[in-house]
């Protein structure tokens, strides 16, 4: 879910810094005093919490933190094995069950705190694919509860070599120390005394366990989040994480608090439907949010300054390309998305007034057209409808034209999608080409 390319690039540079051996390993970023509150004697394998309430709270912290999205795959709950392909090699998520040999059974609670909140693991530094930069904000209480919950997980033997697929120099974990020196803020969550409790709770979820900014904030060339563009939308390679500020054109400016709560808790606000990595986040994490927490997220997001992205000027609808695309839309899209772009509530995204799809970056729409997509499966919305792929049916120009039509019809306005953008993503996603016809 992070921007692999940029993180990878950053790692490359930082590796050089680290290799230079500069004594800059700033004591601050490595200072583990925050973990002193945790027990340093009992191993997870020897511990089984009986505190029912703490276990329950810990499970909720796990949901807030979306741990299972990466750590639960075919091998079993929390047994790891999720291949995260980056341009610089493959990282594999670790086994975090209490198995002493292949999991984290040998960790004490203090080791666990160091791992989760500071990226200092049992085999050395963690890669920032593990969002410890955000988890650093987790409170001691939440961490104690999470520890209690982890003790109830069934141990699974599943040996994983997390960075075996990372070639030199990216396989040097020590390099992350350099990255941490530059970018890791080793401070916990601070309540803002001026703001009310709901807003503080929202900020805690967004910046801490929810690690929203990992995707929704753009990153600099060293792979660190750009503070001035905080939550204003970020390209994460195959997908685009939209602007979460109150911008009325491309952000959440026209969404009600209930819209946002519904989106988090069901995967749809009635207009948009989550897909791609957000669908995973909804399935594994946000659908479990309490209504109060989901509304708190809204309160916090709405308190942020809206991004300054201006309204786009709608493309003219009377061009031949647009009129051809209107027919193509009716033939290919309208069965599910509706003749007026109205979609099917909670199941198929509407296009009309779907602001998340109107950003300058049209990666999500291009991706869905080329590779298809699938909605999340949630307790309230069971369908998890699929969008079929059109890579075999449309060339880059046709995809661009049809997207320009949906982004500039029914009151929508968005910058033009160019055919070469579609072409680049077609190659990057490994999508097929339009079928040759005689």
């Amino acid at each position: 879910m992070a921007n692999w390319k940029k993180i990878g690039g950053g790692v490359a540079i930082v590796a050089v810094i680290a290799a230079a051996g500069a004594g800059l390993w700033a004591w601050n970023s490595l200072n583990t005093a925050a973990s002193d509150v945790a027990d340093g004697t009992t191993r997870l394998a020897d511990f089984k919490s009986t505190d029912v309430e703490a276990i329950k709270r810990g499970e909720y912290v796990m949901r807030l933190g979306d741990c299972s999205a990466c750590h639960t795959r075919e091998s079993g709950s929390f047994a790891g094995g999720y291949d995260m392909k980056t341009p610089f090699g493959t990282l594999v998520s670790s086994n975090i069950t209490p198995d002493p040999e292949t999991g984290i059974g040998n960790m004490t609670e203090r080791d666990f705190f160091n791992s989760v909140r500071q990226g200092i693991g049992q085999h050395g530094f963690l890669y920032p694919a593990m969002p410890y930069t955000a988890y650093r904000k987790l409170t001691d209480q939440d961490m104690h509860d999470l520890w209690a919950y982890m003790s109830t997980i069934e141990p699974v033997k599943n040996d994983i070599d997390e960075n075996a697929g990372m070639p030199f120099p990216f396989n040097i974990r020590l390099a992350m120390a350099g990255w941490n020196t530059l970018f890791f803020d080793n401070s916990g969550f601070e309540q803002d005394a001026v703001k009310d409790a709901v807003l503080n709770r929202g900020k805690y979820i967004v910046d801490g366990p929810g690690h929203c900014a990992a995707c929704h904030t753009p990153r600099n060339p060293l792979g660190a989040e750009i503070g001035s563009s905080y939550l204003q939308g970020g390209n994460i390679g195959k997908w685009f994480a939209p602007d979460l500020t109150a911008n009325p054109h491309v952000g959440l400016g026209t969404s009600t608090a209930q819209d946002i709560a519904n989106y988090l808790r069901t995967g749809s606000d009635g207009t948009a439907v989550a897909a791609g990595p957000m669908a995973e986040a909804v399935e594994h994490s946000t659908q479990y949010f309490t209504e109060a927490d989901a509304l708190a997220v809204d309160t916090y997001l709405k308190s942020l300054p809206a991004s300054s992205t201006p309204a786009a000027v709608a493309m003219p609808s009377d061009t031949p390309a647009m009129q051809k695309a209107a027919l193509a839309y009716e033939v290919n899209c309208s069965a599910c998305h509706g003749l007026e772009g109205e979609g099917i509530e909670g199941m198929v995204p509407a296009f009309k007034s779907n602001h998340g799809l109107l950003a300058g970056d049209a990666t999500n729409l291009i991706h869905a057209m080329l590779r298809g997509a699938r909605a999340p499966h949630t307790h309230d919305r069971q369908t998890a409808a699929g969008m079929p792929a059109f890579d075999w049916k449309m060339n880059d120009r046709q995809v661009a034209d049809i997207l320009n039509y949906v982004r500039n019809s029914w009151g929508n306005a968005a910058p033009a999608v160019e055919a070469d953008e579609v072409g680049r993503l077609r190659a990057y996603l490994g999508a097929g080409n339009k079928m040759e016809t005689p």
Binding site: I344, Q382, G386, A389
Partner: protein
């Protein structure tokens, strides 16, 4: 090598409508369920995506959603003194061949049966005297319409059925079917819209004093969220429903209604491309201990279970009972035995007409897009002076305008080849319209199912043998209802009328208007005339339940699906509410 699987609470043999409904109910009640389906996984967005134009040649002409003949066929004969031969092309029988079963490729006509159907023996005797049923094996179902109403309601809610109520709690509603059994509430979604022909049929039959109504449809009219939290999409009237999968989540089917919820339940396991060979009984023969199966690779295995639910196609339900030795084979000579008894079909005809200077626009279609009158269905009219019981639904239908299928639907005398045929098709395609007469089918002594003595399937197990021809009652019924239909076609202005009364010739499985093959493991309150009790539990082996149209003791003038679904809900609830707590016969025989 054989596979011994971990024991399940329930094993379900066949994951079509019945299997999906059963699995959904039983897993929701907390039971651990394994379903075994011999076809492959099929999913809306990957197997029937709207990105691909509906392929009539593949799905309708070549019938690729139907089980291949190489896997299993049946043998058939009209009379007991004949030697049965294998059926070599599917027409009347439409075995499903995938997850979703025939529920994936059905048209979507979503009827309830009438109160009369369920009590056919009693009501016929009371209204006309016992002699009226002579020559037929009339028997009540062991449930009444009133018993069934809550289960009909539940299944319609799962399926999202579109329609207009004609009778809510005894109050007759304008625009609906005044003859239907009382419903507890309206349909989940409103009726579909009229096409040109539906409007003409509606107005003509209304002028004649009949009671036209839009039929209940599984091609749903608007988006709907069912009680399982699954959303369906609105029908686009594309007309590629029967024999096709639906790409826009609009056709009531296991894919669109149940599987999205069911597949994610941790207590549900599905084995695809795996065929159940037969159930295996314990040594005492009183209960089953599981089912024997074979994988696509030819590896045999055993699935132990406390409860065996047989939910295959109607014919395979009967065949699996016979192959498993559950119950006694029916003998038409002695009348003894129950398995194979009361085989019925559907007695159908069509009346086509042509409307010069009009555009019928048949490409606006839906599998269940039709207006019907029930004035001559079931026992809705007085049979005192008539030489039959039962009747037919008479519908003006707009199911499809598929170009290959309709190319023979031409004015009489048209050439059937060459440029003259092409001209005729160009002229008639957009002027033709049809009435479908879907009639009841009554059980008789010599219409039955048994195992063929000669022919076997690829695993060496005997094929099912069908012995069937039209009986006199049904022939008389169809003649009467076809005549009424011709009158309606004339009133509507149809010219060059073409009548096809299927019962005028001996039955054969190749040129048929119906796929509704019924009975053979029928339900009832009397164990000497029924294979299963009113909860679809085998009278002989109490942990085996047999669910499907195999349970109907006769066929009504309707499509069977919704009644199958309702019976499945009822059987499943009986299992998890009663049977699991106290395993044994749910009804005293």
């Amino acid at each position: 090598m054989t596979i011994e699987r971990p024991k399940a609470d329930v094993v379900i043999c066949g994951l079509g409508w019945s299997g999906s409904v059963m699995a959904e109910e039983l897993t929701r009640a907390g039971l651990n369920v394994v379903a075994i389906e011999r076809g492959a996984w099929r999913d809306t967005s990957t197997d029937f995506p709207p990105a691909v134009d509906p392929d009539e040649l593949r799905w309708h002409t070549r019938r690729e959603l139907l089980q291949p003949m190489s896997v299993e066929t049946t043998t058939f004969r009209n009379r007991m003194d004949q030697t049965a031969a294998p059926v070599r092309n599917w027409s009347a029988y439409q075995f499903g061949w995938n997850v979703g079963g025939a529920g994936t490729h059905w048209a979507g006509m979503s009827w309830r049966f009438t109160p009369w159907d369920f009590e056919i023996a009693t009501q016929t005797r009371e209204r006309y005297g016992a002699a009226k049923g002579d020559g037929m094996l009339l028997q009540d179902w062991g449930v009444t319409y009133k018993d069934m109403e809550p289960y009909y309601d539940r299944f319609e809610r799962i399926a999202g059925t579109s329609g207009i109520a004609g009778n809510i709690n005894g109050e007759i509603k304008p625009g609906g079917n005044p003859f239907e059994g009382p419903r507890s509430r309206d349909y989940p979604t409103p009726p579909l819209k009229d096409t040109f022909w539906m409007r003409e049929f509606r107005e003509a039959s209304d002028r004649m004093g009949y009671n036209p109504f839009t039929i209940p449809a599984g091609n749903i009219s608007q988006a709907f969220v069912n009680p399982l939290g699954v959303t369906m999409g609105p029908c686009t009237y594309c007309g590629f429903c029967d024999f096709h999968g639906c790409g826009n989540f609009s056709k009531s089917s296991p894919q669109a209604c149940i599987l999205p919820a069911l597949m994610r339940r941790p207590n549900f396991t599905l084995l695809t491309e795996t065929e159940v060979l037969h159930a295996v009984k314990h040594d005492d023969g009183k209960t089953a201990k599981g089912v024997k199966f074979i994988t696509k690779e030819g590896v045999e295995g055993f699935q132990p279970a406390d409860i065996v639910v047989i939910t295959a196609y109607q014919m395979d339900n009967v065949r699996l009972m016979l192959l498993s030795g559950i119950g006694e084979q029916y003998d038409p000579v002695t009348g003894k035995g129950t398995i194979g008894r009361n085989y019925t079909y559907q007695t159908c005809g069509t009346v086509n007409g042509f409307f010069p200077d009009k555009y019928t626009n048949p490409f606006i279609g839906g599998g269940a897009l039709a207006v019907q009158i029930d004035d001559f269905n079931g026992d809705n009219f007085d049979h005192s002076g008539l030489d039959f019981i039962g009747g037919a639904g008479i519908m003006g239908y707009s199911t499809n305008g598929r170009p290959i299928q309709n190319m023979n639907n031409l004015r009489p005398g048209s050439k059937r080849w060459g440029s003259a045929w092409k001209e005729a098709y160009a002229r008639d395609y957009n002027q033709g319209a049809g009435i479908f007469i879907q009639g009841t089918s009554m059980p008789v002594r010599d219409a039955y199912l048994d195992l063929d003595p000669d022919y076997r399937d690829r695993h060496g197990q005997p094929l099912l043998r069908l012995t069937f021809d039209w009986n006199q009652n049904d022939k008389n019924m169809l003649k009467y209802t076809v005549d009424r239909s011709v009158e309606i076609m004339r009133e509507a202005g149809g010219q060059d009328i073409v009548v096809d009364n299927q019962a005028e010739h001996s039955w054969n499985p190749y040129m048929q208007h119906s796929s509704h093959t019924i009975g053979g493991a029928v339900m009832g309150a009397d164990p000497t005339t029924s294979a299963v009790n009113p909860f679809l539990q085998s009278w002989d082996v109490h942990n085996v339940f047999v669910v499907g149209a195999s349970a109907f003791p006769m066929n009504g003038g309707y499509n069977p699906t919704v009644t199958v679904g309702a019976l499945a809900v009822r059987a499943a609830q009986a299992i998890h509410q009663t049977y699991v707590n106290n395993p044994g016969p749910l009804v005293k025989g």
